[in-house]
């Protein structure tokens, strides 16, 4: 067959009008997930998230020393529950921003780099639908990655041992309760993770550069860590997007306290709203140029 061999498919009426708005954003979201699934780096991250915790358990078994400068680090040989908490305490503030940055920091700027904005913006989806669908896909990846890490880290810990673990107030936490606390601690990192997702989206949209989108997210995360070391007033500490990654500490106290976690929800909501709104304002009126 050739281009001219038969009549082309005839126009059959509007399609996007029937599926605009939320349905349109969901259509974009599905497409973005298909694209993400085609990327080797995404598959590698998911695979590493599954295998990594078990490798950490194996590594700790070979070590006689313990990572004592991290909460729960001194108990890694005594209780399997200490292992996921050590991983969370050590890597949460570093790994999670990088993890979401890989997708959220690239999901908009990749289309700048590849010159594909002019391909997808000439289809039946408006800018709002594209923005929302991509954002949703980035958030989906962040949530999925956190859930995978929660499950695999917990399973790796349980595989190492199910003895009660010593809490942050020195109390002994029985295995059943410890399981729930580990899961709750991991899930408490979801708000700051989504805050960093919005930050990475903003960097990706504003810079149109994936190096800035991904690397910038990590660098800002590190800068927050450094600033945390400074003698900031309490409100300053609470305003940093990295502080909520530690809000689970209160879960492991005796008695447990939830003030830092509730405060972190406000902080993360503010960061999320500000970064998302700024990204949308930049994106909605931008001119689409050819790829470099």
């Amino acid at each position: 067959m050739s281009l001219a061999a038969e009549p082309w498919p005839a126009y059959a009426g509007a399609t996007s009008a029937r599926t605009g708005g939320v349905a349109g954003a969901l259509a974009v979201w599905r497409v973005e997930l298909v694209k993400l699934s085609g990327k080797i780096v995404i598959r590698a991250i998911i695979a590493l998230s599954v295998i990594g915790p078990f490798l950490v358990v194996g590594f700790l078994h070979l070590q006689s020393a313990t990572p004592g400068d991290t909460p729960f680090g001194q108990w890694v040989h005594a209780s399997g529950f200490a292992i996921p908490m050590t991983i969370l305490g050590f890597g949460g503030q570093w790994i999670l921003p990088a993890l979401t940055g890989v997708v959220a920091g690239d999901i908009y700027s990749a289309d700048d780099h590849l010159g594909t904005w002019k391909t997808i913006l000439t289809r039946s989806r408006g800018r709002a639908e594209l923005f929302a669908g991509k954002f949703l896909a980035a958030a989906t990846f962040a949530v999925t990655a956190l859930l995978v890490l929660t499950v695999t880290d917990l399973l790796a810990g349980l595989a190492a041992g199910r003895s009660p673990v010593v809490g942050l107030s020195g109390q002994l936490v029985p295995a059943g309760h410890a399981t729930w606390l580990v899961a709750a601690s991991y899930l408490s990192d979801l708000p700051p993770l989504l805050g960093f997702t919005a930050l990475a989206v903003l960097l990706s949209v504003a810079s149109r550069n994936s190096v800035v989108g991904i690397g910038g997210t990590v660098v800002i995360g590190v800068l927050f860590q450094i600033v945390t070391l400074a003698n900031l007033p309490q409100w300053g500490q609470q305003a940093l997007l990295s502080t909520p990654f530690m809000s689970w500490h209160g879960f492991w106290g005796a008695p447990a306290f939830y003030g830092p976690f509730l405060w972190s929800l406000l902080t993360c909501a503010a960061w999320f709203a500000a970064c998302s709104a700024a990204a949308w304002l930049i994106f909605r009126r931008r001119t689409i140029e050819a790829a470099a």
């Binding site: 281009l3 996007s16 002019k118 913006l121 000439t122 001119t287």
Partner: protein, 315 residues
């Protein structure tokens, strides 16, 4: 039925540069409309504005009688095509790329992928190949396949024959005539004057961001300066003196030998007969610039500086 595309007074600035300056464009249903102009004339900016990729600073654009604000998310329903070289996700196959785009389009676009790939000559292994391995011609074909699955009633194509082999170009020309006969309107940006002359019903010539001329092709031809011919004879000196005695014929010695003759078709016939009468043998005669090309060069020479006048040509 109103025009399919109606652009009125569209102006676009990029910093200090005026990319489009009060541009008007009208395309009727079933017309193939050529968009001509030298590099930097504003063709791609205008096509980008039609797709909504570039937002005009002034003026209005109506597709099928509706502005973007009126149409909302349905602004590009029934519009297919591409600006500059079609771009796709290199890590996905040709088929997967179309599936991604069909997912954005909704409707029955996904069911048209196989036939679109076959129509574009990309069925079989080529459809399964990752796009990063595609040649320019294959990307152009995939771009056309991506347009086909939208069931377009307006096709906007920017240099679609770039990178295509001669058979592909011939096929494309036939396809554009055919879709126009079926009622699809086409806007074709091209540097290939012969292609425009062969398949377009009307054209707009842009120069330095402004419309230098616009209208039906026959009207543009009628308003054009005389075509330019290259003539080789047995005695160029004598042929030159024969030309000076004829009205409507201007001849000069060409750079590479032979003569360059400016004359309309009728005057050129008379000149050839006069050469024979003067015992000057005609060894070669070729059309160097068609009337449309002559008009194009007249209007766009020195396109870097603003064009002082605008030729309005209507049928």
């Amino acid at each position: 039925m109103g025009p399919v595309v109606e652009v009125r007074g569209v102006t676009k600035w990029f910093g200090e540069t005026t990319a489009l300056d009060e541009v008007d464009l009208t395309v009727r249903g079933g017309d193939v409309h050529g968009l001509l102009g030298p590099n930097g004339a504003g063709k791609t900016t205008l096509l980008s504005a039609l797709f909504g990729l570039v937002l005009p600073d002034e003026g209005t654009i109506r597709l099928f009688g509706r502005t973007r604000a009126q149409a909302g998310a349905g602004w590009l329903d029934g519009v297919g095509g591409f600006v500059e070289t079609p771009r796709f996700y290199p890590y996905l196959s040709g088929r997967r790329n179309l599936a991604v785009l069909a997912g954005l389009d909704g409707g029955d676009a996904a069911s048209l992928i196989d036939s679109a790939l076959e129509r574009a000559g990309l069925a079989g292994p080529a459809a399964r190949q990752k796009v990063r391995g595609y040649s320019l011609g294959m990307r152009q074909r995939l771009g056309i396949a991506a347009a086909v699955i939208r069931r377009p009633r307006l096709l906007i194509l920017d240099e679609p024959a770039n990178g295509m082999d001669p058979a592909g170009i011939r096929d494309l020309r036939a396809a554009l005539r055919r879709v126009a006969a079926d009622g699809v309107s086409v806007i074709l940006s091209s540097h290939d004057m012969a292609q425009v002359e062969e398949i377009c019903d009307s054209a707009t010539i842009l120069s330095a961001g402004r419309v230098a001329a616009a209208g039906r092709l026959d009207a543009l031809r009628a308003a054009a300066p005389d075509p330019v011919w290259r003539v080789r004879t047995s005695d160029d000196g004598r042929a030159l003196s024969v030309a000076t005695g004829l009205d409507g014929v201007k001849a000069a010695v060409g750079d590479g030998g032979g003569l360059v003759v400016h004359a309309a078709q009728g005057e050129m016939d008379s000149y050839v007969l006069a050469l024979a009468a003067a015992s000057v043998a005609l060894r070669g005669l070729e059309l160097d610039r068609t009337p449309l090309e002559a008009l194009f060069f007249q209007l766009t020479d020195g396109a870097a500086k603003p064009v002082a006048t605008t030729a309005e040509v209507t049928s």
